[in-house]
Point group: C2
Chain length 349, copies 2
Amino acid sequence: MKALILVALAVTVYASDAGKPLVLSSQGSFFVGGETKTSKDLNANANGPGAGDAGDVTINQMYVQFQKPVNPDQHRPVVMVHGCCLSSKTWETTPDGRMGWNEYFVRKGRSVYLADQSSRARSGFDATKMVGVKLGKVPPSDLPNVFMASHQTSWLLFRFGPSFNTPFPDEQFPTQAADELYKQMIPDLNGFLPTPNPTWGNMASLAVQLNGAVLMGHSESGFFPEQAALVNPAGVRGIVSIEMPCETTLKPEQISTLAKIPILVMFGDHLSDVPGRFAQIWPNSLDSCNKFVKQVNDAAGDAQMMDLPKMGIKGNSHMLMQDKNNLQLADLILGWIDEHVERKGAHHK
Amino acid sequence: MKALILVALAVTVYASDAGKPLVLSSQGSFFVGGETKTSKDLNANANGPGAGDAGDVTINQMYVQFQKPVNPDQHRPVVMVHGCCLSSKTWETTPDGRMGWNEYFVRKGRSVYLADQSSRARSGFDATKMVGVKLGKVPPSDLPNVFMASHQTSWLLFRFGPSFNTPFPDEQFPTQAADELYKQMIPDLNGFLPTPNPTWGNMASLAVQLNGAVLMGHSESGFFPEQAALVNPAGVRGIVSIEMPCETTLKPEQISTLAKIPILVMFGDHLSDVPGRFAQIWPNSLDSCNKFVKQVNDAAGDAQMMDLPKMGIKGNSHMLMQDKNNLQLADLILGWIDEHVERKGAHHK
């Protein structure tokens, strides 16, 4: 019943918002982090103006694009970080052309910051090893791995259906527009990054720079908000972790750090309904996150698992920010932020 | 005098606009183009869920992000395409934090479409050869070249000054924020693209999809609007080409195609003031474009060269959309569009 009311609410809000002008107090883009690397392996081409160029390049920076609503200080800013083989496009217009979470959150009065992970999309990556391999200075086996997710893998791993091009009967992902999702899927170059992943520190720095923010991650980046808080919790006012494996071997002092931050974990449907080599990924992920949520709460934290099918919300895929009921799920997150991050804000400042 | 008035106008508009809310009738993102490639070389990592994955991936697509003002049909949409080693960030917030052309054009009533070139940033790239090299299936020398521009190269090539970290006395680029520009500079993977460059066809398709648009390119992409029109001129209503070498060996029928489209070419200052290996690039580029403009006009076309120093506008760098007088230059372009594309629109439809 609660779920039904939320569906109705989401549909109403969307229908009334979609045609309305979007009013921004400001927008823009900038970078967080980045360091200077000096290298001779910047260009393997013997011709052209950059030939044999040696010098400094900037690596590990994180590109951030933001929009602020009118009266942006009424709510905490929300930072959204995409998953594997994707970019911030994840949060924008859905594959079938509906409003994405980026705009919906702004229309709900939140400043939204979309970050391309360091080494992905507009953040760039450190290509010196690629140049070194081409120049014969680096053995090919030392080339970091790059990962492209095929259409076939995506369909199963993202739980669109039990076999390629067959959707689940209640599937919420707009599978007729799957080709548009595949265009979003770009090579994952995280193998080129140092350890620990600089995106974690960049997210922590961004949260400080914003004087407190809610960090949201998905899939590959689902646990990045926690990792960011473990680098520096100072700016992390809330965590939204969507569909990922959770770390269950954190030290007590790490759990204690996370127990001071409200945490929401969300999972979609059909976790056990994918056959073959992907069968165990989602049940194991959910198990690990249930354990993690318990660890945090046992340490007097405020962690909540939204296991959507248990709440009566059925058929959600792994790409739930693009699913047909994406705004209903956005409302769940917005409501959780209001309740756990903002109303209880005094506890957590 | 005309230039002075334009300076005053630009400053006035910027000062009055900067704090004003931005009202959009809509915004979003989508892809143009893209094709399916089947490959076994998608992931060299023997572990993980994608191990040994063979299947289909989408390549050569072009990511496009747009914003429309209220009453978007009063002006032609403008498509902006970035240059080498950069992304659409080029057109956004400047390195020193001022408004970029993307927002300024929207505030001036234009729908703006920012495209990441195919193989760059959020458009992704075809990484199968990289995987093949790592797997030992492809010889390292067959790896396409990737190009990173160093800080030192950028400073000279972008004409910030006569030697690294020394600006020209009248330099318009905000050199104190050069580090922020370097964060925008990302590996150029155009070597991974097929011939002809799919970005050209994608730009032509986008122009058709928009029922007519002005295409703008810069540097590496400066002549892409012309190349797009040579693929299919149907949607190309105007061309703005900024700081690049022009093709001067086009066939008469190609010149004839371009002579039906109003063309603006813009160059900044200090073209001959860069020493060493970059010394000839800009004088040669300007020469080639003066020839090209003459070829088009000799074929009864409407091509205009804005050689800024000759117009009394001094000190502009190669990154003139980020220069301190960037909005003055934007006004020159907007005025040219009004005059040559829109008022004369009847001729060119």
